[in-house]
Symmetry: C2
């Protein structure tokens, strides 16, 4: 059904059809310069009839703005990346800017390859995202001379980064549990090596006081299980609420508690982190959890790179965007 290679219309065709010069056509279509309202309308109408669409390559070549930006990400199966990419794309498309997706798969060779390609394509800016906020970009990215925004990743000192507000997220989690009347709150989280884990743990400790206990492990469901086993195999008072560092951990915790006949949330309230729906909606009871608002983070990163590409100045530093609490049945 595809039409057989019909030549694309150029502005030259429009000009001829409208009986004006190329420059008049250009001026009319872009609404700049001095043009008679009547001719302007006519040119626009003709362009519409012909189905004229300006060649972005030619335009970019001249204006030195490609209206494209690149997104460099180190992960592939991106439960973190994709929501952000969607947010970025949503903002950009409304500004006529397109998004190059570059998955480096943590391979420096691939990163270099993609970076070179982006430069060749004269992208107006690059968004670097990672799977953890303390992961930096490939070193080549730093000396590029084009704008870079860091989203869910670590940028150099003079750069602009967007992170979820992990501390605030932890605080609303603990406050929620407090409001439910819980006082013996335990924090089971992932690897201490992760900055996000440490930030959340610190915020938790500040609210929970000296009785606050943090168990670092890894980010797996398995760890949630064994952490509960450990807690219940030793004597002493048991927690009446557990704040988990991820939904996966929370799922392990819930399963282990159920195995022991502990009622959720009556005996122990359980709270997750991530709002990864495939997990949080499927636990029994469904998981109350913290949402990092990754799409909104993408929106902000998109707006920021648009600003930078227009040579606007942005305050350097880390912008921390608030997390929200999604109440389901577990707390």
């Amino acid at each position: 059904m595809t039409s057989p290679e019909e030549k694309r219309r150029t502005i030259r065709d429009v000009a001829k059809a409208a009986g004006v010069s190329i420059s008049t056509a250009s001026n009319a279509l872009n609404g700049i310069g001095r043009t008679n309202a009547e001719t302007r309308e006519k040119v626009k109408r003709v362009a519409d009839e012909l189905g004229f669409r300006p060649n972005a390559l030619a335009r970019g070549l001249l204006t030195k703005r490609s209206h494209a930006i690149g997104m460099l990400t180190n992960d592939t199966y991106g439960r973190l990346t994709l929501p952000m990419a969607a947010g970025v794309s949503e903002i950009l498309v409304d500004h006529g800017v397109s998004l190059f997706l570059c998955a480096t798969n943590n391979d420096p060779r691939l990163a270099k390859l993609h970076l070179d390609a982006l430069l060749d394509r004269q992208v107006d800016g690059i968004i670097f995202t990672a799977t953890r906020i303390d992961l930096g970009p490939p070193p080549e990215l730093l000396k590029l001379g084009i704008p870079v925004i860091y989203a869910f990743a670590q940028g150099p000192a003079d750069s602009v980064s967007f992170h979820p507000d992990d501390a605030q997220g932890a605080r609303i989690a603990v406050q929620h549990l407090r409001a439910l009347g819980r006082s013996r709150i335990l924090h089971i989280t992932g690897e201490q090596d992760y900055l996000a884990a440490r930030i959340r743990a610190d915020a938790y400790r500040e609210l929970a006081g000296p009785s606050g206990q943090v168990m670092f492990g890894d980010w797996s469901e398995e760890w949630g299980h064994s952490a509960i086993d450990a807690v219940y195999s030793q004597s002493g008072p048991k927690p009446d609420a557990i704040f988990c560092g991820s939904d996966e951990i929370a799922r392990g915790v819930i399963d282990a508690l159920r195995d022991r006949g502990v009622s959720i949330p009556d005996d122990v309230a359980v709270l997750g982190f991530d709002n990864w729906e495939v997990i949080s909606k499927q636990t029994r009871p469904p998981l109350t959890t913290i949402d990092m608002e990754l799409k909104e983070l993408g929106h902000r990163a998109g707006l920021a790179i648009l600003g930078l590409s227009r040579r606007e100045k942005l305050e350097p530093g880390i912008v921390r965007l608030p997390c929200s609490l999604v109440a389901r049945g577990s707390a």
Copy 2:
């Protein structure tokens, strides 16, 4: 640390520095035309020293090939899309082709917007992907006059599509269970409305014979649960193996069986579909499941669109790529 707006080197700079004409420089760098080996080397060396990188916009404008392709997808949180996109990107980057990611979020307005942008950018082709194989593209895509490949989506009759081989996937699943000595195999799957579900169910029935029973429901963990409840609440012989239509369903099935004290895989073997690791690795026991090889599917789609963009002819029709069985503990 970003260097202050140093002008980009053009081929003109290279030519001047090497003491040759622009056309000689171009010929030398691209290794075409008649050029003395000596000058060729010199030009290349100089270009390297200057850090010259050809402007893809100018090149594309002239050659009418942008070396960019667009990927249009209807989903955002893409557990299906991202692996495919990664596969596509992996192939393309090695051919110097970049990938525009366009998430339409099932919104026709957005689809149109993205499509227009892709056309403006003179992409060499488009890959359309969806979340189910029986979902078609936005109608505008059909009358575009540029190459289109359909991956995990439904294309028109004269198009080239890549699908997982659902029938073969179902067959190796049943064969695996058979090889374990199981004879009373039950199939619990998702919505009958999905073509993939029907294809798998048909293939299953063919192998399982008249005793083969299919339970359609939805794709949720919850459904796995209630399906098991239904099976065990009625009298009669119980299955000794269950082939599930998704890992999520399988997880529900496994949990429900465990609740009833049924041993897996000794009493009942359970087999999933998707190999979505966040689920399949975390069930107890870990889930034996069918992998649709989405990355490979992306590879093939990438190669195909590269071929089409070079005006090679491709046999129209649906190419079904084999699934593989990933053995873990549950079957």
